[in-house]
Symmetry: C2
Subunit: 393 residues, 2 copies
């Protein structure tokens, strides 16, 4: 065989996704892109804020020696300091630049975290539904993924988490606001999770880290707040990305922040910095690090996503679906009218509507609708959703 | 233990490097940065070309929808096409954009390549001296590094390579112009290497890939040319980075090009693209991809490095060292006057000269001097080099 068996396996496993993707391209060629309603990708269609563009221009015009050169693997001290200052206020905690490592997005951040923490066979507990790539990230770090269910409303099932933790558990990975469900774990859930993790860590005499992937932290609706995991649990690491907050996913800029009272904090920060280099990231892109230092606290206009959410949810309700509006992110995890979510996405495809089956996210019987698309795409897709529902009723 | 044992081990192993680094910082604080001669890092001090800066400004001003959004994981089709067109001329071969994957520098490229190719236990053969990080990259991909020596002049020892290839060998990794030696493998060496690899591949009934890391491809002197590995060996993959060619190491932009006649080329390109995503890179930074599409064939003024090389080599010769001028890159791998290269770097440190012991590069008895520094740094360090030589004679 030419390539690694594992990679060949992943390619084969995901071949049906690619097939759907290719059929989508075919549909667009046949009917024109405007007449195909593509809800398959979490690619923000809201523009970055005007002030972000200004900051980028300023940084490009700056006349600094070595402005595109290597900097320390953890990132520019100034950028890390700006972030630490911002987070100190947001989380009501004294954070220093030494607690921050700049990364190639949240994907880079999570790979660096797992490479740093995991010994071969260590387990990472993840509540389902979960972002598809997590299994890869844990595997890259040599760990094993253990999935536990959530409740019907996608809130954390603390009993399931407690039952899933064992002597091999090195970390619990949560993602709130959640991709694919849009669920935000509330303060009580985070507090309860922290209590269980503290108890279980004592029971096994281990350190169990809480790793929180929060790229959608700023995309929340209806006045909901995302509780601070740092405040709730000292052995915690948060992965953040500006991909969604500032609509910059292609630029690959994010960071890891570790709680200052993490046990063995110096080893952890040293490990994260080393792994950033060892994994070939080396450092987060220089130019964007300088931009980010200037725009702390800035975010895209979340009202735009709120409107799209309402347009989609109200539209689907109007044609007969039972929909609960998600609290954050820009995904709706919709219950399929039949058990077979792949068959449901296939039927939608005939109406030129592209979505992703929930099975891939550990949520069979659901589909993920990414509503970070044009308003017209949402409006014009509603009748097709209605037709397919009729078909299955 | 808090972090992974392997990572803890790497941190401990490299603690003396960190100690030297910290002592260097201490020296700079004590004597002023100008009075410390820091040759320890391969961080280009030559500015990017003016036209590169213009291209960056143009790209920033461009009004494109979704210009910072995700693009296909392999990169923008336009960028890949521009590179394929340029490489087709440079290598006299028909390359298409389908043979290119944009990466987060060459470090990203090599990690993506090894993750794609290696099954657990597969061997990667590397001639020493070699870039320190290669062992990590092979290990990240689950492979095993096998080191073979080079000749006294750092040219490829084809017999050693032939003897080092066995039934587990999945790839041979070369780096020319070489870090740390500055050696450029000539056409005869590359041709000979290709013949051996073809013969050995037949003998074992395996595919053996030639992986060539070429970030210094454009940094060569005295009219020397870097032979094309693509022309020499069909099962070849080249990793390139703009870090040195355009002095952009902080921006993390590079690519992989695969030979169009690689066996199983579709699996390979599919694997590379998947691994770019799986490893958390997702894609190379968007903005720099657009810049790169506009500047194919552009490079920094290599004459500046040539002058620095001569300044260093002539200076060292004038105080008694035996020096052969390197053919490329911006490193001199200098034979230490004593066997213990660490002791030699320590002695230089007392003269406020910072270098790196060759042991870390698999070249004990040598030190690496990175001469991508100011001319004055080179000039002012020569007397100190002379003092230390006297001390050991």
């Amino acid at each position: 065989m030419a390539i690694a068996e594992k990679i060949q396996g992943f390619i084969t496993q995901s071949s049906w996704i690619r097939k759907m993707f290719e059929e989508g391209i075919q549909l667009k060629m046949e009917f024109g892109a405007k007449n195909v309603f593509d809800f398959s990708l979490g690619n923000p269609n809201v523009d970055p804020p005007e002030d972000l563009k200004k900051a980028l221009r300023l940084v490009v015009e700056e006349d600094l020696p070595g402005k595109h050169a290597y900097m320390p693997n953890a990132g520019y001290p100034e950028t890390r300091e700006a972030i630490a200052d911002f987070l100190s206020l947001e989380h009501d905690l004294t954070l220093l630049r030494d607690h921050i490592v700049m990364t190639v997005g949240a994907g880079g951040a999570l790979n660096v975290i797992f490479k740093t923490l995991l010994n071969p066979g260590d387990e990472v507990l993840i509540p389902a539904p979960y972002f598809v790539e997590y299994r890869f990230y844990v595997d890259n770090g040599g760990g094993v993924t253990r999935i536990v269910p959530t409740h019907e409303d996608f809130s954390l099932d603390l009993k399931a988490i407690e039952g899933g933790i064992n002597e091999k558990t090195k970390a619990v990975l949560i993602n709130s606001p959640n991709n694919p469900t849009g669920k935000v774990y509330d303060a009580a859930a985070i507090h309860g999770l922290a209590e269980i993790m503290k108890r279980k860590a004592r029971e096994y005499g281990n350190i169990i880290y809480l790793v929180s992937d929060e790229p959608y932290r700023d995309i929340v609706y209806d006045g909901i707040a995302v509780p601070s995991i740092l405040k709730a649990y000292p052995n915690s690491l948060m992965a953040f990305s500006y991909s969604k907050s500032l609509s910059l996913p292609g630029e690959r800029i994010g960071y890891i922040v570790a709680h200052p009272e993490c046990e063995h904090i110096l080893d952890i920060m040293g490990g994260l910095t080393l792994c950033n280099r060892m994994l070939g990231f080396v450092n987060a892109p220089a130019l964007m690090q300088r931009v980010i230092a200037r725009v702390q606290g800035m975010k895209v206009d979340v009202e735009i996503y709120r409107r799209k959410r309402d347009l989609l949810c109200d539209g689907l309700a109007s044609v007969g679906y039972t929909v609960k509006k998600p609290e954050g992110a820009f995904y709706l995890f919709l219950k399929a009218p039949i058990d077979d979510d792949v068959a449901f996405t296939r039927a939608l495809q005939k109406e030129r509507i592209l979505t992703v089956p929930g099975s891939g996210f550990g949520g069979p019987g659901y589909i993920r609708i990414a509503y970070c698309v044009g308003d017209d795409t949402i409006r014009n897709a509603i009748p097709g959703f209605g037709e397919v529902l009729k078909e299955f009723k």
